[in-house]
Symmetry: C2
Subunit: 408 residues, 2 copies
């Protein structure tokens, strides 16, 4: 059987949800492929008789965006199902509900969130989400605390960590976020006009040495079950709800990895609006979100830690401070790596790539490289989230097109 034979049609997806007992055999269903096409096949199933649909996510044994030449085991479906179930358990309401997972099919049936918007697109449009910071902080605090040793669930943690070892998807991160953007790797996509900036980055020994430590920590430091890919394209929002989707990169890694990726993507969005000369108040909105998420996240994490009291005599104000400080420093470092890889690595983001006017796009990318490098350097000495925000603000990014330009 060729690998391509394992790709599902809409009918296969319909047959799956019926086999799983989510719909009756007789029910008339429609299925549409809605996947963004990088890794998996994603279908929305809808019944004539019901309002809400079901999402079916099917893993195929290769990286869809590349094809059969990049094999990737379908194990990622089991990782995603396990991560979603854990996250539903401890942070209910912030991830899609799992209706069924079948390990033979490598397919998950889950809650349809089509009413929500992908956060990246919403932020590019300049929308506001008043509950987002609270939701993001609660998701981070609850999933990261309850999977960490601080929760005292130490045997459960070790067993789940073993079950959720995720070598193939971790290797994608190790290569695409934590290695290749820092040297002249064939996969990089460096736009003309950035050559000098990139040379400067690659020659910056402080950056390179710090990325080594961050990569080493990513590979060996299993603090908690991280989502592993928490950029704004993995978040669905509306005015009332926030859902974190697609945790197929989940594994036990450094806690700071999740807020790091999230904050990096907020700053990338900030740069987008800056170079296009949009209202400065949106910059303030995004940076206030970083600060607010951090404060709420760490406050709730520490509150859970105090209540759980597993650490006994070892838990005091000083150890609490130094533990959170370590998470902050990692957050700065991983945020910096994410910004750089979204600028010159294999996979860009719309916040940068979709800026039509070349000058503005190059200015945005230059700014991203500087802020990214500065965040990486900050990771060895940050003392508070204010310093993160100060780095993001430090560049005077002048609008390259006027607010009335072609961009809006």
């Amino acid at each position: 059987m060729s690998l391509e034979d394992q790709v599902w049609t809409a009918d296969d997806a319909i047959s799956f949800v019926k086999r799983q007992g989510i719909y009756a055999e007789a029910e008339r269903l429609q299925a549409v492929e809605i996947g963004d096409g990088n890794l998996n096949y994603v279908f929305r199933i809808q019944s004539a008789d019901r309002d809400k649909g079901v999402i079916v996510k099917k893993a195929v044994p290769f990286l869809r965006v590349v094809g059969e030449t990049w094999p990737l085991t379908e194990e990622r479906a089991s990782i995603e199902a396990a991560a979603l179930r854990f996250q539903n358990e401890v942070a209910s309401g912030y991830v899609p509900e799992v209706y069924a997972y079948n390990p033979d099919d490598h397919a998950i049936a889950m809650e349809d969130l089509s009413d929500l918007e992908v956060m990246r697109s919403a932020l590019i449009k300049g929308e506001h989400f008043p509950l987002f910071t609270k939701h993001a902080a609660e998701f981070l605090a609850r999933t990261l605390f309850w999977s960490s040793d601080r929760s005292g669930k130490i045997t459960e943690k070790k067993e789940r960590a073993a079950a959720m070892v995720n070598p193939q998807l971790c290797e994608i991160t190790e290569r695409l976020i934590l290695s290749e953007p820092f040297y002249d790797a064939p996969g990089n996509r460096i736009e003309g006009g950035l050559e000098e900036d990139v040379e400067k980055l690659w020659g910056d020994t402080e950056v390179i040495d710090t990325v080594f430590s961050l990569k080493d920590k990513f590979m060996s430091c299993g603090q908690a079950l991280v989502h592993g890919d928490l950029h704004t394209g993995s978040i669905m929002v509306d005015q009332a709800q926030t859902r974190m989707i697609d945790p197929e990169f989940a594994f036990y890694g450094p806690i700071g990895f999740d807020p790091g990726l999230l904050f990096a993507n907020l700053v990338l969005n900030m740069i987008h609006h800056e170079v296009l000369g949009h209202s400065p108040s949106y910059r303030e909105y995004l940076l206030a979100a970083v600060e607010d998420i951090w404060t709420r996240f760490t406050d709730e994490f520490c509150e859970l830690w105090r209540v759980t009291s597993y650490d006994g005599v070892f838990h005091n104000d000083r150890t609490e401070h130094s533990y959170i400080l370590g998470v902050l420093q990692d957050t700065c470092g991983y945020a910096g790596c994410e910004m750089i890889r979204r600028t010159i690595g294999l996979a860009s983001v719309a916040d940068l790539a979709d800026i039509q006017e070349e000058k503005a796009r190059i200015a945005a990318k230059k700014a991203s490289l500087v802020i990214g490098s500065d965040l990486i350097k900050l990771s060895s000495r940050a003392e508070s989230i204010d310093e993160f925000v100060a780095v993001a603000k430090s560049l005077d990014i002048s609008p390259v097109v006027t607010p009335s330009g072609t961009e809006r």
Copy 2:
């Protein structure tokens, strides 16, 4: 079936080696139980027709020293077999050879090392082993390098780490080495006369806070497959050979844990000889061994790293230095914890406990608490192994009995 029914007799051990095909059915065998009795049952099998015997190690589903009230799954036999096989592969000659492992029996048949001596007893007798430092360093460098990310075997590492998750034995370490000695836990065994010293230790916030970090790292930082219990009672020696035995505590943890435990036990032995007024040249011998093992271990580790060159642009003199520095600091910290737990924790060592004369024994224990605390503090700032040695030398431990006293 009661748990005790799972204890083997000599006949069960003989039947096991015959079932495994190590001896023919007809061969006349003798078996003697030789275990020290803490965790497992250990038999030496001998045939009338052969010189060398076979060791059978059988795990029972409880902690033997405590009994059925402390259940402990027999999984540790599979961990030990897997660890020995890996160590044999990369550091051949430094561990017993595994002849057979049967997961149903939870039993391992392995090379008989009865001709060798337990290193702790040999050091208490003041013996010298000219090849020991070379052997110990090679064992550390090869097992720790080849199981670490520095080897580039990143998928293999993650998969082996998952297979060798060892929650129950790790919890013993977490409790007995990294927690209970640092507060008034019921399991501690604090000899009269040490009360003030122990109060001082428990009130030392720098020590307590540092132990928190060391424990956290032990629980979440899977750098390499550590032996996990590398004290001098786990080492068999003679003038030509060195073998590391009993890796049932093996798991992916911080690299510094292994040299830390080893060095701590060398320093405990040094204290033994000091309070008994034995020749100062033995102190020099032991401390030179610490320095020599460290230098050889890190030299070989870095040599392997350079040759393997997995880290590409991230490997340079600075990152090499900072990586090894991290290992050194952990080594100091875990050494300090081990010294303290051997002094006031549940499981002592003969180097301290077998000093007959009370004054000398108390003096030894006081010295151990001071050096242990100082090593823990050193872990946040050590720059070279000389500082470790300097701490071990820093106390002027006067002989409490004369060399001609009752102790020799």
